[in-house]
Symmetry: C2
Subunit: 230 residues, 2 copies
């Protein structure tokens, strides 16, 4: 699956969060990281969009919406003749939104400081996806990245990688399959034999776990079926 991550951050150089995200994607070949600048070229942007399966709009929340730079991109690249009408260039692709905010998650609800949920505030993007015939993915919201501990940040990066690269299967089984695939790729690439062996060990443990879970799942379903027949 080919993915294009379009990043609009008015102060990108200063943003440790965005650099964290970028570095976490470097290992994936099918991902293009496009950092927008005020002088972006519409034709170039459209070239990048060709043959892409998933489009990620990534930005910090500015006045409960995208920064002006991202809005310029949407207004100028997704014109009627390009994105709608007979061309309808974005139809069938996925639209993913990654939003960072310095405010805490519990502020975004009725009666709280920000009054509205993120789902409500991002309605314009949901409506846009529907209009262009795109599949709207559940947005990935990062609250107060800077306040997180190092371990919390690492865990969040793994979730971010899965969001950008994954098949959008958020079940436990989906996560395991994703880790298994990534371990396999890592083992293939590793030159150091000792490291290869230890990674392979980890993968075996994971696979055994997966098999055990499969058996439990099967047993559980059998029990349910028996109940149903009584």
């Amino acid at each position: 699956m080919k993915t294009l991550v379009i990043v609009a951050h008015p102060d990108y150089e200063e943003s440790t969060t965005q650099r964290f995200f970028r570095n976490s994607l470097l290992e994936f070949k099918d991902i293009t990281w496009e950092q927008l600048d005020t002088d972006f070229e519409v034709e170039h942007e459209r070239e990048l969009l060709t043959d892409v399966d998933r489009v990620v709009l990534q930005f910090p929340l500015y006045w409960y919406s995208a920064p002006a730079l991202m809005k310029s991109y949407l207004d100028e690249v997704f014109t009627y003749s390009y994105a709608l009408g007979s061309k309808n260039s974005m139809r069938g692709k996925q639209l993913a939104i990654v939003v960072t905010t310095g405010d805490p998650e519990h502020d975004f609800q009725a009666g709280a400081r920000e009054h509205f949920t993120m789902s409500e505030l991002l309605r314009p993007f949901e409506a846009m996806a529907a209009k262009m015939g795109m599949e709207y993915m559940t947005p990935f919201i990062v609250y107060q990245f800077a306040y997180k501990t190092e371990i919390e940040q690492e865990l969040l990066l793994i979730d971010y990688q899965r969001y950008i690269t994954g098949d959008n299967n958020d079940s436990f089984k989906g996560k395991e399959a994703w880790y298994d695939q990534r371990l396999y790729t890592k083992i293939e690439k590793t030159a150091d034999d000792d490291r290869k062996l230890s990674l392979d060990g980890i993968r075996q443990v994971l696979r055994t776990n997966m098999d055990t879970l499969d058996e439990l799942d099967w047993a559980l379903r059998m029990m349910k079926n028996d109940d149903g027949e009584e």
Copy 2:
């Protein structure tokens, strides 16, 4: 009451709707019409906002939100240090939104073509007003202006004038008081004695109507009170 109308239209010269709106406000002295250009100056914009009671953001709907130019204005003028924090320059002012769209009103609802209501799509502006301590006025939405008949357009312009200049009292009584005030101003300004007389005649009819309605309203309330006492 001092009002500032901030207009962001990427193609202002071509927009008959915006010119219609502008012309309808020329007679009002307390209204400043500020047509944004890409090279607007933050300090100048902030000067215009000083001592203003009502701020109107007026724009065509682009991807279910404001065009990039309006977003630039919001991002750059309403910074934390200016609009929030200890300065909190916008606190107590009213925020009004005037949106034009080429799509019909019935498309903006669940299950219809645009999926969401205008109230939902404009949540980011509502949240922004709350954050800055502004009073959020019910937005004024203009659907398919170009498709309206001349008479429909004229009536809409009167509603628009009332929205921009009025006290936000949308009752029938509020409308009458507003017309009475405007007729009074017109009569004062008219040099032609015949025209003065005819305008005064219209005003007398309106006032008689207002009195009759007042009496009916009073009688109705008495009847309700009697019912309550039975």
